[in-house]
């Protein structure tokens, strides 16, 4: 199916003569996973996007269930498709991640999700 999708996309892009097309950046996956429960504190929250991000205009924030800001995310210098929030010693509880990014073709997207830490 992926091959079909790639071929169809290539066909459409070539047919309509687009210049280097880069789409909106969607959240592909995250660690901890969106909506998941993990045992023990993770050392970081990492978000993978479908497109490369503009580091100056992309960010993320980690909050506790009480609303306290626990960390901010930056684009990983080694991979511009990733945002990373360094964390340490998250206590058991629910946490909320918000992200707002600008893909390299200047499209904005945003979203948020939660995960839970158990002892």
């Amino acid at each position: 199916m992926r091959h079909f999708i790639r071929l169809a996309t290539l066909f459409l892009v070539l047919t309509f003569g687009a210049s280097a097309a880069v789409a909106h950046a969607f959240l592909d996956h995250a660690s901890p996973r969106v909506g998941s429960t993990v045992s023990g504190s993770p050392s970081e929250v990492r978000l993978w996007f479908t497109q490369a991000l503009e580091p100056r205009f992309s960010g993320a924030q980690l909050r506790s269930s009480g609303g306290a800001v626990l960390g901010s995310g930056v684009v990983d210098s080694a991979d511009p498709k990733q945002l990373v929030i360094r964390v340490q010693g998250l206590k058991p509880g629910k946490y909320h991640v918000s992200w707002k990014v600008l893909s390299v073709d200047t499209h904005r997207t945003e979203g948020s999700f939660s995960f839970e830490v158990k002892p």
């Binding site: 199916m1 992926r2 999708i5 169809a8 996309t9 459409l12 892009v13 309509f16 687009a18 210049s19 097309a21 880069v22 789409a23 909106h24 969607f26 959240l27 996956h29 995250a30 996973r33 969106v34 909506g35 998941s36 479908t50 503009e54 100056r56 205009f57 992309s58 960010g59 924030q61 609303g67 918000s98 992200w99 707002k100 990014v101 600008l102 073709d105 200047t106 499209h107 904005r108 997207t109 945003e110 979203g111 948020s112 999700f113 939660s114």
Partner: protein, 327 residues
Amino acid sequence: MTRSVAGAAAFAVTALVLSNTGASAHCFVGGRFFPATLAIDDPCVADELSIPTVSWSRTGDRPAAQQLDISGEFSKRITETFGVSIAPTWTRIAPPGGPNQYGFQNVESTFKYQFLTVPEHEFVMSAALVVEWGNTGAQGVGADSFTTYTPTLYMGKGFGGLPDSLSWARPFGLTAQVGYAIPSSNSSVTVDPDTGDINTELHPHFLTYGFSLQYSMPYLKSNVVDLQLPDFVNRLVPIVEAQFQTPVSNNFGTGIGTTGTINPGVIWVGDYFQVGLEAMIPINHASGSGVGVIGQLHLYLDDIFPHSIGQPLIGGVSNPARPVFGD
């Protein structure tokens, strides 16, 4: 005059080529994406191309004729919040025993202004004037000889703000539209060539309305819970659309009542295009005979051409800024 036109053209071309600022384009409202819908219009302005949209159905005539519609729609943002679109439709009507009728419907154009966008509540509203231009289509396929103006209001609302206990329902989104169709003339008079009888046909005013209820698997995956489903499934938006027309004035004795269809289906959302397929279930016999089908290929021009025709013609869009997160 020539100079001012040349200046305006130069400005438009320069804006087209150089504009390169932060854009949202197709219907993103906060974390919500409203895909382009098939039966009703989505609540945003965008740079997009639906080509083709193909529908097949049986008319409400007795006996029923088969109707095939093939249409396209090109939508272009003039500014970030104001856009125009144009939509021609080719129709073939095949009654049992023939002869077939075919030709273009009247050309339809839409002038839409997205006047309210509230990202944190996934809420958006637009207002538009939809114009069906009279005498631009073939009367054999039902194109009217008069122009119809339909002021229309659109809205979209995502349910991402529901509490944790209802998190499964957060991927739901609702879009709706309501319009009032005003014909440019109240009636038309025809003379029967055989009998010489004079017939007067009233042109009713219609209330046009519809909605879509959609469940976004992309939203479920990236905002609620990642169930690690196959990528194809994570890009689906199951949807039910409904669209109706009810005559509200100037319809005395016409025998015209409410017509419409309810369309269950699914939209697959890709990075550069989407594909939609829906059944069309008529709400009564006047709306059709049996279940029809509609399919659409829809291209996101803002993603395919991010630095040229995928940008608003005038003014670009608001400058990108460092992300600010609410308290």
